[in-house]
Subunit: 398 residues, 2 copies
């Protein structure tokens, strides 16, 4: 099963040349391994003239661990199919897939190197005027068009089967919804917030609501979610946005995707106050982050509502009152999953630069504590937060 691994740079280059159609046959190509994730191998193949492609290869184990942590290679098929489906509805927001090679477990795709990783851009307080709108549109288009509102009953069920993704779902099931709520060996906790973590583990009302959110994650086959929509899966600059890496895609709750994005913007919000820089700049950026959350939600809900009204195929779900009720449910779910993202990125296994960039542990503890309190509030109060403005107002108060 590991035979598909590229054994030389020449092999990678040859693969890129034959499966992308972007290079002149005469031009010399170079290759660099650029994977900064933990799981896969990612190569950039480029010509001196400027053309380039990305090759992403999934081996049957986790890259940074090795063969001791096996992981189904089916994830790369899922990623390729999800990217192509997303491209049907937002071709401007995802990298183009040139080729998927099942034998190699590899995708050859467009190089989006002109965009910056969103997490780094947010830490650097980049101005991203299109971000909220484009993320909202991505969620609305991809999630509506893979839901029962739009899909034919047979096609939906066939797709559910095709996107069964147990290995990657299990990672989320554990890392989001269990580890952070107990003293788990996988957790990574700043000693300065140990008492906050302990309070979390004893917080029965919180754990009840997290159990409800986990149960929805396990059972609610609402739409083909990206499933890993954190800032590291988004590339952006002032001109545009690209969303990559849907290897966690499966039929799950719509709010999980929207909530992951909101949670990541709020993680940066929590971190900003402790990062170096002018206080006024910091405050202005935090205000922009909350505006981006609002714009993301309003764009998502506006477009999703339009699509429900214009394109819902099932007449029994095409009622004005149901549209309103459904969008209200999606907001509650999204806020809940935003809360679990805030918590798991603070005391769970996988941390984020938005907080880790704060060097002093005591300073970082302040931001981490705010992230935990924001997460807890969103999970517990989501049923009462009737609109995005009310939610943002509560965020400001914490």
């Amino acid at each position: 099963m590991t035979d598909c691994k590229f054994v030389s740079e020449a092999e990678v280059i040859d693969f890129a040349r034959h499966h992308s159609g972007v290079f002149d046959p005469a031009e010399a190509l170079s290759v660099e391994e650029i994977g900064d994730g933990n799981i896969n191998f990612v190569y950039r193949v480029y010509a001196a003239g400027g053309n380039s492609v990305i090759i992403k290869q999934a081996l049957p184990y986790v890259r940074i661990i090795g063969e001791g942590w096996p992981l189904s290679q089916d994830r790369i098929r899922i990623e390729a199919e999800a990217l192509m489906l997303e491209a049907e509805y937002c071709p401007d927001l995802v990298p183009r897939v040139y080729h998927f090679d099942a034998a190699r477990s590899a995708i050859v795709m467009e190089d989006i190197g002109a965009f910056e990783n969103l997490r780094h851009a947010l830490v650097a307080r980049a101005e991203l005027p299109l971000l909220g709108k484009q993320l909202g549109r991505f969620c609305a288009e991809t999630l509506f068009h893979t839901s029962d509102l739009y899909l034919d009953a047979h096609r939906k069920k066939e797709m559910v089967a095709r996107f069964i993704n147990p290995d990657l779902c299990k990672i989320t099931e554990d890392l989001f919804f269990w580890d952070p709520f107990c003293d788990h060996e996988r957790n990574n906790i700043n000693p300065a917030i140990w008492s906050e973590a302990e309070a979390l583990w004893r917080d029965e009302p919180l754990k009840l609501e997290v159990a409800r959110l986990k149960h929805r994650f396990l059972t609610c086959a609402e739409a083909l979610v990206h499933g890993d929509l954190h800032s590291g899966s988004v590339f952006a600059n002032a001109e545009g946005t690209r969303i990559i890496d849907p290897e966690f895609a499966y039929f799950g709750p719509i709010g999980f995707d929207v909530g992951s994005l909101i949670g990541n913007l709020l993680l940066n919000y929590a971190g900003q106050a402790q990062l170096p820089g002018e206080a006024s700049e910091c405050e202005a950026y935090r205000a922009w982050l909350l505006d981006a959350v609002r714009e993301l939600w309003n764009t998502f809900a506006g477009r999703f509502g339009e699509l429900m009204s214009s394109s819902t195929k099932d007449p029994s779900l095409n009622l004005p009152a149901y549209r309103e009720a459904y969008l209200a449910d999606l907001l509650r779910d999204s806020l809940g999953y935003a809360g679990t993202e805030l918590i798991r990125r603070t005391v769970g296994l996988a941390h984020v630069l938005d907080l880790e960039a704060i060097e002093d542990p005591q300073q970082r503890a302040k931001a981490e504590t705010q992230a935990l309190h924001l997460g807890r509030m969103l999970v517990l109060e989501r049923a009462q937060l009737s609109d995005i403005d009310a939610a943002i107002e509560r965020v400001r108060q914490i």
Copy 2:
């Protein structure tokens, strides 16, 4: 695809003899076609000495319509696998499967002819002291053990894929959740309740709640539900109960099964007052029906709660507060689906003997109107009905 059809009685007998292991090789066998459903062929093969088996065969179309209404033969594999799974947890409540033959699209199974079809038994006011308890136990055992509470994360997802059942789900999606709520050509409406039906089609609050229930039916992969748990799928007498025909099985909301049973008991309750007989007998039987609903729910919830407490594998879902909240959610769902069953059996395509046995259309209209009002109340008030006693009290008031 229709080549698998048995072409002679001798062929049926030969098949039964070779695949059941219940007959003496020397004994002469007879066969009768006993299918009273609309979709499949059902044969009873029996010896003069008393031994017998049932053969159920699914052809690639609906039996009473013919090849003009195609239907996937995969339903018989699903039925066989569901019966065998159910037998792991309630072997005393389902017919034993002797053999499943994929090439023949046929199941050879235990003959449960000693039991009476529950619908006929209820119309005849049979005393069934075990019914509520056994139905409650069936639901608790089969649904708990096929849910995320119990199953390993990988096994659950593999089972979801194996029980994708689009053809039969589509029947339910249309007949339960759409036809009855509009003036659909498939509907079958007693002219004497036409104005009641029209009121239904204009009832926006009801249609909103039915849309929510339909969306859950479409998206909530909570457990392997039987999917067609009406009185015609239950056989019973004073000594026991057997549940058959899980060809609609798929991963759906637990409340759909429990609610179908409750709905069917309440359909009989609505019919009884207009059926011939002594008023006191009628009242006593109606009181027994409500007791059976209570016993069904209490047995289900009691056993399901015990199983949650003793056998939930996922620690994040094994919290006392979550058990309580989850059972409360299951009650709400069950009452909602009971309501849709009451409505669709009254104005939709497929009617039930519990109401059809009332010969006079005006008399029948009274029972039908009560069934519609009960259905509407359950759908609309389910969120406020905090326990089964409160629900039964509201039933009594209508």
